[in-house]
C-alpha cells in the first residue's frame, strides 16, 4: 500500500517535472514565442498576444527564443508537448524557421506568424507582418524633407540575419536615392544595438564631421547614435529611427530625435490571436496567409499620442 502510493507520487512528480508529457491537461493553451523581451518591441508583442489570449479564455505560455533557431525548435517541441492549440511566433530566421513550423503543423498545431516573414507559404496558417518597406519609405520621406533634400548622411543598418534589416534599408534607399544631392558618407551595421550604435557613431563622426543626418534601421540604434551626437555637441544632426518606442517618443517630444515609424506591434499580436481563435473554434483560416499591416510616421505632431507601440486617438 505504502509502496504503491509512493510510486504513484513519484510518477506524478516525474510527470510534472517533464511537463511535456501532459497534452490532455492543456486543452486551451496558446503558446507565444518571441525574441528576448529586453527589446520593448518584442515585449509589447508578447503582452498584446497574452492579453488577447486571456480575454478569449485561453491559457498563455509565453516563451523567448533569443534569436536562436535551435532554442526556437526546442520551444516549439515544448508547445507541441504541452498540447498547445496554436503557436503565435515572431520567428528566429526566415529559412531556419520553416522546418520548425512544419514540425508543429505535422503535430496538428497551427502557427500564426507575426513581425517577420518566413521564406515559405502553406506551412503557417498566417503571416501577419508590418509593411516594413512602406514604413521605411515614410521614414525616408520625412528624413528627406528634414534634410531639405540635400547634405551628407549616415545610415545605421540592423542585424544582417534579420530580413527586416534589409527590407528597411532598401525602403530607405528607394526614396533617398531619388535625390542626388543627398550623399551617404557611411553605412554600417550596429546590429540593432544601442551601445554598438553609440561607438559606431563616435568613430563615424570623427571621420565625417560634416554630416547633417543619420537614418537608422531601428529605434535602439537611433537612441545610441543620438547619445553619441549629444556627447560630441552635435545636437544639430537630424536623426530618424524606426519602431515607435516610448524612448524615442520621449526624445521627439523633448526636441532630440526628429521622427520614427510606428510598427503596430501590439495590434498585430492581438490580430494573430484572434485569427488563431477563429481557427481553433471554427476551423476557419484567414482569407490570406500573408497579411501586411501599414506603419505610421511619428513626429512632433503625433508623438504625444504614442504609448507602447500604439497610437491613441
Amino acid at each position: 500500500m505504502k509502496l504503491t502510493r509512493r510510486m504513484t507520487l513519484a510518477a506524478f512528480a516525474g510527470m510534472l517535472a517533464l511537463g511535456t508529457a501532459m497534452p490532455a491537461y492543456a486543452a486551451d493553451l496558446i503558446a507565444i514565442i518571441t525574441p528576448s523581451h529586453d527589446n520593448p518591441f518584442f515585449k509589447a508583442e508578447a503582452d498584446g498576444a497574452e492579453a488577447k489570449a486571456k480575454e478569449l479564455g485561453y491559457e498563455a505560455l509565453v516563451l523567448v527564443h533569443d534569436d536562436d533557431a535551435n532554442k526556437q525548435s526546442q520551444l516549439i517541441d515544448t508547445a507541441i508537448g504541452r498540447g498547445a492549440k496554436a503557436i503565435i511566433l515572431d520567428n528566429a530566421g526566415a529559412d531556419a524557421t520553416v522546418a520548425a513550423v512544419q514540425k508543429a503543423k505535422d503535430a496538428g498545431v497551427p502557427s500564426f506568424l507575426i513581425d517577420r516573414e518566413i521564406n515559405a507559404t502553406g506551412v503557417a496558417v498566417a503571416q501577419i507582418v508590418s509593411n516594413n518597406y512602406q514604413g521605411a519609405q515614410l521614414g525616408a520621406q520625412e528624413f528627406v524633407k528634414l534634410m531639405g533634400e540635400k547634405g551628407n548622411f549616415v545610415e545605421l543598418v540592423g542585424k544582417e540575419s534579420d530580413t527586416n534589416a534589409g527590407i528597411r534599408s532598401k525602403g530607405y534607399h528607394d526614396v533617398i536615392d531619388d535625390y542626388p544631392d543627398l550623399k551617404m558618407v557611411a553605412q554600417q551595421s550596429a546590429n540593432w544595438s544601442q551601445t554598438e550604435a553609440y561607438s559606431k557613431m563616435e568613430s563615424i563622426l570623427q571621420a565625417n564631421p560634416d554630416i547633417k543626418g543619420v537614418i537608422s534601421g531601428n529605434d535602439t540604434m537611433a537612441m545610441g547614435a543620438y547619445a553619441a551626437l549629444v556627447a560630441a555637441n552635435r545636437k544639430d544632426v537630424i536623426v530618424v529611427g524606426f519602431d515607435g518606442s516610448n524612448d524615442v517618443r520621449d526624445s521627439i517630444t523633448s526636441g532630440g530625435i526628429k521622427a520614427t515609424v510606428l510598427q503596430p506591434a501590439f495590434a498585430q499580436a492581438q490580430m494573430a490571436v484572434e485569427q488563431a481563435n477563429d481557427f481553433i473554434k471554427n476551423k476557419k483560416s484567414p482569407a490570406k496567409e500573408k497579411q501586411l499591416m501599414d506603419c505610421v510616421l511619428v513626429n512632433g505632431d503625433n508623438a504625444p499620442k504614442l504609448e507602447t507601440f500604439a497610437l491613441t486617438n
Binding site: 507582418v129 509593411n131 512602406q134 527590407i167 526614396v175 531619388d178 535625390y179 490570406k288 497579411q291 499591416m293
Partner: protein, 214 residues
Amino acid sequence: MLNNKPTWPILAVTVGISLTACKILPTQSGGGGNAPAFNPDKMVDEIWAAKVVPYLHQKAGPFPEVHALAQADPAAAGGKYGNPNKQANSPWTFAVRLEGKIVAANTQSRAATVDVDIDGDGKADARVQIGPAVRGTALRDSLDFIQFNDFTNQIDFAQFGKAFNTYADKTVLSKLPRDALKGRSAKVLGAYTLGSGQDLPLVTPAEVEIGPKP
C-alpha cells in the same frame, strides 16, 4: 543594315535546333535575394496599357464625389471606387479623375507637385505628383488584380509598386512642362490613398494633360 538581313533565317534555325537539344529548367528562385526572373519594370510595362489604364478608366470616379464620400463613409467609397482586395488594416486607395486649374506648383522639390482647384473656389482641392521622384504606391494599391499574396516577399511587392511610379514618370510625367504652371488647366486620371494628415490628398497620375499658358 541591309547586310544583316539574310542572317535572320539562319539564326532562327539555330535557335530551333538548340531548343530541341536542351532541357528547359524552371528558373531557380530563393537562395540569395531576388530571383533573377523577377523583373518588376517589365511586368508593369506589360500590363500598363493592356490592364492598368483601362482599369482606372473604368473604375475612376470624379475626385470631388469620391473624396466627399470617402470623408463621410470610407467603406462605401471603397466599395465603389476602391480596391476591395486591399490589406485589412490599410487605408483605402481610390481610382479618381479630376479636372481643374493649377493654383500652386512646387517644382523645387524632386518630388514635384501641382495643387489643383477643381470646384473653382480658388482653393486647392488635390495635390498631383508630377515627378521625377514619385511617392507612395497608390497606383499599385488601386488595382484589384494585384495582391501581396502573389509575391515572394515584401521587397518584391515594394519594387513592383515602385515600378509603377517609374513607368508613370518615364512615359507621362517627364513629358510635362515644368515652368509657369500656375493658372494652367490640368486633367488627371490616377489614384490616391486616403490619408489621415492635414495635407491635401496626394494623387498619383497614370495620365495627365496640362493645358497651355493662360
